[in-house]
C-alpha cells in the first residue's frame, strides 16, 4: 500500500497535480503553527532570567538551525535514492532542497550572530559549532554551483548526490560539536536523551515554530520541485495537455 503510494506519487503528472491540491492546506497549517509559535514566543513566554528578552531570538534561530541540518539529510538521502534507482522525482527533490537549506543555514548563522553580539560580546567566534555550520553553508553553495555548472541535468544530479552524501559527515559534527569541543556556544537544551533543560512555557512555542518551519520547507520544496519538473519534462505529452488547460 505504502510502496504503491510512493510509486504513484513519483510519477511526474501525478506529483504535479497532487502537489497543487496540497499547497493551500499546507499554507493554512503553516500560518496556524506560525501564528501560535510567534504569539507564544514573543508574548506569553517569560523573559530568560539571564538573557532577558534577547533569548527570544531562539524562536527563529533554533528552528532555522534544525532545518539547515534536516534539509541537508533529506537532500542527501533523496540524492542517494536518485543515484541508485534513477528515480527522477528523487533527483528533483534533492536539488530543490538545496536552496531552501542554504537560506535556513544562512538564517541560523545570522540570527546566531545577532544573538551572540549582546550575549557574548562578539558577532562571530571561530568556535566549533559556528565553524561547522559555516561549512554546511559552503556545502550547500557548492552543491547549487555544481548543479548549475553541468548542462545535462541527470548527470548534474548524480554529481550533486555524491557531493551531498560525502558532506553528510558534517551533520553529526555540527550536532556534537558542543560536546566534543569546548565551545562558547551553549549545549543542547532540547535534542538530548535527558529531559529538556528549558521551561515548558518556553519550550512549547519553540516546538510550534519548529513545526511551522518544517511545513514551510515542504511548501517551498513542492513549489521548487514543480518548476524543476516542468523544466525537465518540457517535451513530455502530459505537459502538452497541461498547457492546453492553462490557456
Amino acid at each position: 500500500m505504502f510502496m504503491r503510494f510512493i510509486y504513484k506519487f513519483s510519477s511526474p503528472p501525478y506529483f504535479y497535480a497532487i502537489s497543487a491540491k496540497m499547497l493551500p492546506w499546507l499554507t493554512v497549517l503553516f500560518l496556524v503553527l506560525l501564528g501560535y509559535g510567534l504569539y507564544g514566543g514573543l508574548v506569553t513566554a517569560p523573559a530568560d532570567y539571564q538573557q532577558g528578552d534577547s533569548f527570544r531570538i531562539i524562536y527563529v534561530h533554533v528552528p532555522a538551525a534544525w532545518m539547515s541540518m534536516f534539509i541537508y539529510v533529506v537532500m542527501a538521502i533523496s540524492g542517494g535514492i536518485g543515484l541508485v534507482w534513477r528515480i527522477k522525482l528523487a533527483e528533483i527533490v534533492s536539488i530543490s532542497s538545496a536552496s531552501v537549506g542554504a537560506s535556513f543555514t544562512f538564517l541560523a548563522l545570522v540570527t546566531g550572530s545577532l544573538w551572540g553580539k549582546p550575549m557574548w560580546g562578539a558577532w562571530w567566534v571561530w568556535d566549533a559549532r559556528l565553524t561547522s555550520e559555516l561549512i554546511l553553508l559552503f556545502l550547500y553553495l557548492g552543491i547549487i554551483g555544481l548543479y548549475s555548472g553541468i548542462e545535462d541535468k541527470r548527470t548534474a544530479s548524480r554529481a550533486v548526490a555524491i557531493l551531498a552524501l560525502v558532506g553528510v559527515v558534517n551533520i553529526p559534527i555540527i550536532h556534537y560539536s558542543v560536546e566534543w569541543w569546548n565551545t562558547l556556544h551553549q549545549g543542547a537544551t532540547v535534542t538530548k536523551l535527558d529531559k529538556p533543560s528549558i521551561h515548558i512555557d518556553m519550550l512549547i512555542p519553540l516546538l510550534f515554530m519548529a513545526g511551522a518551519f518544517k511545513v514551510y520547507y515542504f511548501i517551498a520544496l513542492l513549489l521548487r520541485s514543480r518548476n524543476e519538473l516542468l523544466e525537465r519534462e518540457q517535451n513530455a505529452k502530459w505537459i502538452d495537455e497541461l498547457l492546453e488547460n492553462v490557456k
Binding site: V110, T111, K117, A220, N227, K247
Partner: protein, 53 residues
C-alpha cells in the same frame, strides 16, 4: 505596547533577527511562484512556435 517593542533593550537584535527571517522566507515563496509563471509562459510560446513552423 512600547515595552513589547523595546524587548528589554534588545529591540535591535530581536527585531533584526525576526525581520530577516521573515523577508528571506517570504522571498523563498515568491521567487518560485514567479518562476512558475515564467516557465509556463515560455513553454506555451515554444509550443506555438513549433506549430507554426
Amino acid at each position: 505596547m512600547s515595552e513589547f517593542f523595546a524587548m528589554g533593550g534588545y529591540a535591535f537584535y530581536v527585531w533584526t533577527a525576526y525581520g530577516l527571517t521573515f523577508v528571506l522566507m517570504l522571498l523563498g515563496i515568491i521567487k518560485p511562484l514567479l518562476n512558475h509563471k515564467h516557465i509556463l509562459r515560455r513553454l506555451i510560446l515554444k509550443r506555438q512556435r513549433e506549430k507554426t513552423s
